[in-house]
Symmetry: C2
Subunit: 289 residues, 2 copies
Amino acid sequence: MSEVKVAAIQMSMTRVVSENIEKSIRLVRQAAAEGAQIILLPELFERQYFCQERRYDYYEFAGPAEDNDAVKALTRVSEELSVVIPVSIYERAGTVLYNTVVMLDCGKNLGIYRKTHIPDDHFYQEKFYFTPGNTGFKVFDTTYGKVGMGICWDQWFPETARSLALLGADIILYPTAIGSEPVLGGDSSGHWMRTMQGHSAANIIPIAAANRYGIEEVEPSEENGGQKSSLSFYGTSFMTDETGDVLKKAGRDSEEILTCNYDFELLRNKRLEWGIFRDRRPEMYGTLM
Amino acid sequence: MSEVKVAAIQMSMTRVVSENIEKSIRLVRQAAAEGAQIILLPELFERQYFCQERRYDYYEFAGPAEDNDAVKALTRVSEELSVVIPVSIYERAGTVLYNTVVMLDCGKNLGIYRKTHIPDDHFYQEKFYFTPGNTGFKVFDTTYGKVGMGICWDQWFPETARSLALLGADIILYPTAIGSEPVLGGDSSGHWMRTMQGHSAANIIPIAAANRYGIEEVEPSEENGGQKSSLSFYGTSFMTDETGDVLKKAGRDSEEILTCNYDFELLRNKRLEWGIFRDRRPEMYGTLM
């Protein structure tokens, strides 16, 4: 299998989990109908982005991966449509909570990746919710190619993309939840894109990022300490070729399915021809550790 | 010292070393007259790009750093103008030859960096000429800020830029010699730019790349085994802000001096505010080594 069609889905979320799961299924079916074989959904698409506020009761959102409603529903869809779907969930493993992707491949569960890098900023308060992942970087050997997974904040780290490329990934997928910066200000979307375009270019590998869109409001409550805030998620999901050039890009405020065709075998040869993996010098990389 | 003006010089080279050194001095003077305090010249600007062919007699181009004519001339210029100039040379250290930068700071020699990553391809036959550098990545504490150095092929490696950022660089400079790919084909300039834009974005640090331009021809000779070839160096020197956005970009075929102002203190704060250096997880980076 060399030519593969990959889709990135951009969607908004309501406050009702079942609605979000239903929407994800509808969009996965639509992507598969367009021929997509690997289908990327946004990060934590079961809910609005609960990390905007700190609430102890939200720890209850986490559960064992095998019991997760989205995983169960999408396992059936993945089997029926013969597609690969990484499913981003809030995972509970014993008494430890992780931001996790479950990799579904034609109905089979290929295992999990737990988000390595956890952000912490005003309204992106993930260190309150997630223990930094302990799985290490993971490339999943799927029916359609070797899929390297990063999760949102991982996408800022050259170490993630380089590790996945070294582990043999054919493509790197990033489910994402990113938007406005109410305190820092500015619009990070260009910075965000260029960072991942750079990972793509430096590793000669296509990447896809699937983001949510829409405004999500938080009302003051006893549980959140009286916080009132909102985040405007900026969509802008995109997919690159192996030189970091953007092939497809979604709008800032629309439901969209992006698709691109890739020839993974051709790209494996390009990674060799350019010589950058040949010329690495790990003995000089001590500063990174 | 927080606000600094940095210049990147794009130039072509003749077959006469003294002409190239004279041109470099003229352009450095012009950049300094425009207020530049850190001035980047292209890679190996003393000569046409001799690595296009393999000739044993070209090993004679290498010499001790302190005896190099460009270093000697530019040391005086650096002192006179009170500027920082990284000088790219072919260095001989005993019987080992390196692709080296000598860092000049207001007339002082702050030391050398030897190119870590050495390419090898049709007409970029650097493994024939240069032993991979043994200095490790270097950040030089100059009068105007902490200058991180990469040399040409280093610019493709996220490990270089990340290491320099971790070592405290305020800016990363890449002297370069890159152009056409007579065998692979295509134009790598977009790929090349996006790779470095990505390093800039991922490390929240400005970068500058100074390339040569012009066509350099090689005639068949006994010494080069009868090779006839040419390379068209594509200029396109550029400088970014700390988000990887291109602030200045040169044409493909023109002598140019690019300049940008940076507030290094402000940028140091931005690197902290974004949190990516806080959230690195070296214990998970074993794959890189």
